[in-house]
Symmetry: C3
C-alpha cells in the first residue's frame, strides 16, 4: 500500500520532469495532460483495464485476449460483505490500485515525447484507448498469465521494463514520427537545442521518480518478503547511481561539459534498465546493467536527435531503448541468465513491439487523417497554454518588479 | 506511523497550493503562516489539544466538554518507564502525532481563504485559539466518544469530512465575510480573476495533498486491517479521479475552456467528499460521491464568487461544501445508508456549524474591533512580504538577464 | 525500507534548500554537486564504505580502524543463493541502503556551505575521499562498535547528531575557512545579505527534510519496535516545532522582523539537536532540547557571519553547532543523563572534531595549493552555471512576455 502511494507520487515526478524540460508557454498544457492521464487512467482501469489484464485465462486458451467483465466488485460477492480472503497480505484492492497506478504511466511516457505540439483532444482519445485497452491486453500476456508466461522458459519482466516502459516507449516513437518535429528544432537539417524552462523542477522530477521506483520495484515483490524486497531496492538504487555516473562521464568526455540533464537521464536509464530483473541480480550485476544503460542513453539521445525524431524529454531513449536493454539483460545476468531465457526475452520484446507499434499507429494515424493531431503553427509558436487553456503558468510572476 | 509522515507532508501540499494560487508579493507571508501553523499547532496539541479531544468522557456526562489534563505524559507513569501496553499496533504516541498533524490542518484551510489581506498577528492569535481549543473540543464530540458518538445511531465521520474539513471551512467562511474581499476583486459588482503566480506549484500541491490523503484516510483505519485499509485507499483514489474528471467536464461545458485549476479543485473536492465514509463505500459508491463533489465544486466556486465572498484558493467550496456533502453521503450510500443515519449526519453537520461559526465569529470579531484584522491598503497593494517580513520570495530571480 | 526511501528523499530537501538560498546563476552547479554526491556516494559506500563502517572489530583491537573487504557480497556466500538469515526484520541489504543514504548526507552538508564559489572538480575529489573513507572510518568508532562504543559508559549518538551532522559540519567549517567569503559578502568588514533566489523552494526543502527525519530517526530504531519508534517520531517533531518557534521568536525580538528563514533554520536546528537522543527523551525533554537549539541557531548564524565565515545556507550553525548541542544534551536530559555520560559525550565530540578537522584540512589544503579550490573572479561574478555546465537553470523563463 505504501508502494502504491510512492508509485502514485511518480506522476508528480513525471510532471515536473516534463514541464522542466519544455518551454514555459506549454506548461499548463502538459500539466493538464498529466492530470487527465492519472484520473481518467485510474477510472478506466477500474472499469475495464484490471479485468482485461488479469482475465484468468482458461486452461488451453491461447493466452492472448481475455476479459473478466466490467467493474471491480469481485470480492464483495458472497453475502454482499467484503471478502477478505482474496490474497494473504496483499489484497485484491491493493493489487488493483498498484496496477492502476502503473497503467497510467504508459501514457505519461508518451505525453513527454509529444509535448509542445500535439492537440489535446486527440491526445485524450489516444490515452483512453491506449491505457484503457492496449496496455492491459498487452500486460495480460505476461502478468495476466498469458502466452508469454505459458512458455517453457517464461518471459520474465519483474516490474515492467517492457510491460510498462517499452509499452509507453513504442507509442512515443510512433507518435513522434507521425507528429513531426517542433518548429525550430532542425535548422539546415541539424538538431538545435530547445532548452526547457525550469531545470530545478526537472531535477526534482528525477529524484521523485527515483523515490517512486522504491515503490515500483519494491512493491513488485508481491510476497513482500523483506530480504528480497530489500535486495531489490539495493539493485534499483545501485543501477540508478551507476547509470547516472556513467552517463555523466561519457557525456563529459564527448561534449566537454558537465551536463546535468545527461546525468539525470542516465539515472532514469539505469532505473528503467534494472526494472526487468531487479529481484534477480546481485549488486555487481545491477551496477553493470545500470552503467550500460547510462552509456546507452548518451548515444541513444544523440542518435534519435539525428534521426529527426524530436523527443523533448528523451522519453524514447530512456523508456524504450533502456527498457529493451533491461529486458534482454535478464537473459545475460543474474539468477535466470541462460540462452533459452535470452531467446524468451527476445520473443517478449518482439511481441510487445508488434502490438504497440501496430495499435498506436492505427489509433494515431486515424486521428491524424480525421481530426488532425498537431496544433496550428500559430498556436505552436504562441504556446498551447493560451490557446487551449486560456491561462499562463506563471501569470503574476513579473508584477513584483525591483 | 508512515501515514503520519504522509499527513505531515500534506502541509507542504497546502503551502504549494496556496502560494501557487496567490500573487508573488504575498508568498513569504503565506509560507510563514503555514510554518507557524504546523509548529505551533503541534506544540499546542501536545500541551492541551490531545487531552481536550480524547478526554475519556465520564459515564453519564453530557459528552460536550472534557479535559484530561495538560501535557503528554500518561503512558510514562507506572515506574517512570515507557508503558508499551497502551494499544496494540497503534501506540499512544502514534495516536498523538497522527491527530496532531490533523489538528493543524483546520487552520491551514482558513489560511488559504484569508490570504493576501489578513494581518499576521491577529491570524496567529486566531490560530492558537482555534487549533488549541475549538478544534479539539469539537473533535471530542465524535472521535473523543462525546455526545454525537453516544447517539443511538452515532454520527459517522471516518476521517474528518466534518471534523477536520468543515471545521476549517466554517471558520474560513466567517473570516472571509468579516475580512471583505481583496482590493480589485470586484469591479462594478462583478468578480474579477486575480491569477496566482505559480500554477506548477499549485498542481504539485494538489498531487502532494492526494498523496497525503493516502495517509489521511489510510491511517484512519486504526486497526490497520490490510483489506479494509486497501479498500479505503481505492475509494479515496477513485473519488479523487471522478471529482477531477467531472469538474473538468462541467467547467469545460460551462466556460469553453480546459481549466486546469477546476480540474485540480475537483480532485480535492472528491477527496474531501469521500473522507467521511471512505471505509464504508464500494468503488461504485466512491465514484458517484466523487463525481457529485466535482460538479458541486464548479457551481460552489462560482456561487461563492457571486456572493462577494473572496476566497483566493477556493477553500470554502472544497473543504466546507464538499465536506458537508461527504458527511451527508454517508447516510445515502454504502454500508451505513439509512434514514436514521442521514438524520444523524444532519445533526452532526448542524452541531459543527454551530460551534465553528459562533466561536470563529467571536474570536475574529473581537480581533477586528480591537487590533484590526486587515492590513492597510498600502500594504495590500505593495504586498505583505515586504511590509511584514522585509523579504521577497524570489529576491534574486532577475539578475541573470539574457 | 520505507525509512530508507524517506532518507533518500532528504537529498531533494537539501537540494531545494541550497538552491533556494543561493543565487540563480549557481543553481545548476549546486544541483550537479548534489546529484553527484548521491550517486557516487552510494557506489562508494557499496565498494568500501559499508565494510569500513561495520568492520566487525576483532576482540581486543583498538577499535579505531578496520576493514571487512571490498564489495557487498557477504550474505550470498553459502551455495551462491541469498542468505536470508542475516538479521530478523532488518536485513543486510536494508542496512546497507539505509546507511548508504546517510553517508552521502555528510558531503551534502559541506556542499551548501561552500556553494557559489568552489571549483567543482576539487569538490568532487573531496567528496570521494570524505564520503568514501573518512565518514565510514569515523562512523565505525561508534556504530561499528569501535572504541567510543567500547567505553564503560559508551558514547551515545542515536541517529547521528555527531556521526552524520557534525562530521559534515566540521568539514564545512574548514572548507569555508580555506575558501574565503563570496565576493561582495563583506563591505568595510560588515556582512552583507546576499539573498537567495527561491524562498518557496527553500521552504519546501525544509519540509522535505523534516519528512525525511521521520525516516532518519524513525528508521534508526533498528528493532522497529512500534512504541519506541513512535515515541522517537514524537520527540523528533516536537523538537522541530520548538526549534522553529523559538528561533522565530528570538529573531523577531532581535531584528523586529518575522523572518521566515530563521524560522526554517530553527526547525532544522531542532531536528539536528534531537537526533542524538531522540529515543531517550520524554516529550518535555524534546521540547527543551529543540527550543535551546532554536535559540542557538539565531546567535550562531550571527556569530559565524561576524567571524567572516561565509556560509550561504547556515550549514555550520545548523549541523555543527546544533549537532554538538544535541550530542551533549544526551548527558543532560532523558534516560541516560549522568555526569559520566556527559563526559563520554564530550569525548565523542572531541574525537570527531579531531578526525574531521584534520582530515578535511589535509584534503582541502592539498587541493588548494595544487589545483586550487576556488573559481576565478570572473566565473564567480558571472555564475558557475554558464562556466562549468554551459547551461542556465531557467533558460526559457522570460520568453513568455506579457
Amino acid at each position: 500500500m505504501i508502494c502504491t502511494a510512492l508509485v502514485f507520487f511518480m506522476h508528480m515526478g513525471f510532471a515536473f520532469l516534463e514541464i522542466g524540460l519544455t518551454r514555459q508557454k506549454n506548461t499548463i498544457n502538459i500539466l493538464f495532460k498529466n492530470i487527465f492521464i492519472i484520473t481518467v487512467g485510474l477510472l478506466l482501469y477500474a472499469l475495464v483495464g484490471f479485468n482485461l489484464m488479469y482475465p484468468g485465462f482458461a486452461e488451453g486458451s491461447s493466452g492472448i485476449f481475455g476479459f473478466a467483465g466490467f467493474g471491480l466488485d469481485s470480492p464483495l460477492t458472497a453475502e454482499g460483505a467484503l471478502d477478505l480472503s482474496y490474497n494473504e497480505g496483499y489484497t485484491y484492492w491493493t493489487d488493483f490500485l498498484f496496477q492502476g497506478m502503473f497503467a497510467a504511466t504508459a501514457a505519461t511516457i508518451v505525453s513527454g515525447a509529444v509535448a509542445e505540439r500535439i492537440k489535446i483532444g486527440p491526445f485524450m482519445i489516444f490515452t483512453i484507448l491506449y491505457v484503457g485497452l492496449i496496455y492491459p491486453i498487452a500486460g495480460s500476456w505476461k502478468w495476466g498469465a498469458g502466452f508469454l508466461d505459458m512458455r517453457e522458459t517464461p518471459f520474465y519482466d519483474f516490474a515492467g521494463s517492457t510491460l510498462v516502459h517499452s509499452v509507453g516507449g513504442w507509442a512515443a516513437l510512433v507518435a513522434v514520427w507521425l507528429l513531426g518535429s517542433r518548429i525550430g528544432k532542425y535548422k539546415d537539417g541539424k538538431p538545435q537545442a530547445i532548452p526547457g524552462h525550469n531545470i530545478p523542477l526537472a531535477t526534482a522530477g528525477v529524484l521523485i521518480l527515483w523515490l517512486g521506483w522504491f515503490g515500483f520495484n519494491g512493491g513488485s515483490v508481491l510476497s513482500a518478503d523483506p530480504a528480497l524486497t530489500s535486495l531489490t531496492l539495493v539493485t534499483t538504487c545501485l543501477a540508478a547511481a551507476a547509470g547516472g555516473v556513467v552517463a555523466a562521464l561519457v557525456s563529459t568526455v564527448m561534449f566537454k561539459n558537465l551536463d546535468l540533464t545527461m546525468f539525470l537521464n542516465g539515472i532514469l536509464g539505469g532505473l528503467v534498465g534494472i526494472t526487468a530483473g531487479a529481484d534477480q541480480m546481485s549488486p555487481t550485476d545491477a551496477i553493470i546493467i545500470g552503467a550500460v544503460a547510462g552509456a546507452i542513453i548518451v548515444f541513444a539521445v544523440s542518435l534519435i536527435d539525428r534521426l529527426k525524431l524530436d523527443d523533448p524529454v528523451g522519453a524514447i531513449a530512456v523508456h524504450l531503448v533502456c527498457g529493451i536493454w533491461g529486458t534482454l539483460a535478464v537473459g545475460l545476468f543474474g539468477e535466470l541468465a541462460s540462452g533459452a531465457q535470452f531467446v524468451s526475452q527476445l520473443v517478449g520484446v518482439g511481441s510487445y513491439a508488434a502490438i504497440c507499434i501496430v495499435s498506436s499507429f492505427v489509433i494515431l494515424y486515424i486521428l491524424k487523417v480525421t481530426v488532425g493531431i498537431r496544433v496550428s503553427e500559430k498556436e505552436e509558436l504562441e504556446g498551447l497554454d493560451g490557446h487551449e487553456h486560456g491561462m499562463d503558468a506563471y501569470p503574476d510572476f513579473r508584477m513584483n518588479e525591483h
